[in-house]
Subunit: 85 residues, 2 copies
């Protein structure tokens, strides 16, 4: 299989797997099952993967991890929003 | 920063972020918050990342995603084990 196609397929699969969690949190307006520390570790790690992708000039890594950062930043936003109430 | 060190740091961060979920499931013996379909999508995607890493000969990608596959296979094992009861 073409390397880029392989990387993009892998990136799409690992990225979409995080969306159900976000939908669940938005629907239930409940973040008690979410660990803030782990969310921060995950966002840091994903950001470093984006940096790694930029240095290695690999588009599949850049795109999939940027998308994952966005999903997890949304989760972090929900966490801050719903934790108050 | 050295590319390999950057990749390994990124890999360690994204990998360890999944462990608390596994610990939580093992402690609570409860998998009702886990989506089986998403677990299968994630394991497929992570396995493709390992394949991508092998083709590109990039150790940080191979190691971190292999570890993540193991953690999520353990989660899948817990799902099958605790879903019965």
């Amino acid at each position: 299989m073409n390397e880029n196609l392989l990387g993009i397929t892998a990136g799409v699969l690992t990225s979409i797997s995080m969306i159900p969690q976000l939908i669940k949190v938005i629907r239930k307006k409940d973040v008690k099952d979410i660990s803030l520390v782990m969310l921060l570790i995950l966002i840091s790690g994903l950001s470093l993967w984006v940096w790694y992708g930029i240095k290695k000039d690999e588009l599949p890594i850049i795109l999939s991890n940027s998308f994952a950062v966005l999903v997890n930043l949304s989760l972090l936003g929900c966490y801050i929003l719903y934790k108050k109430s």
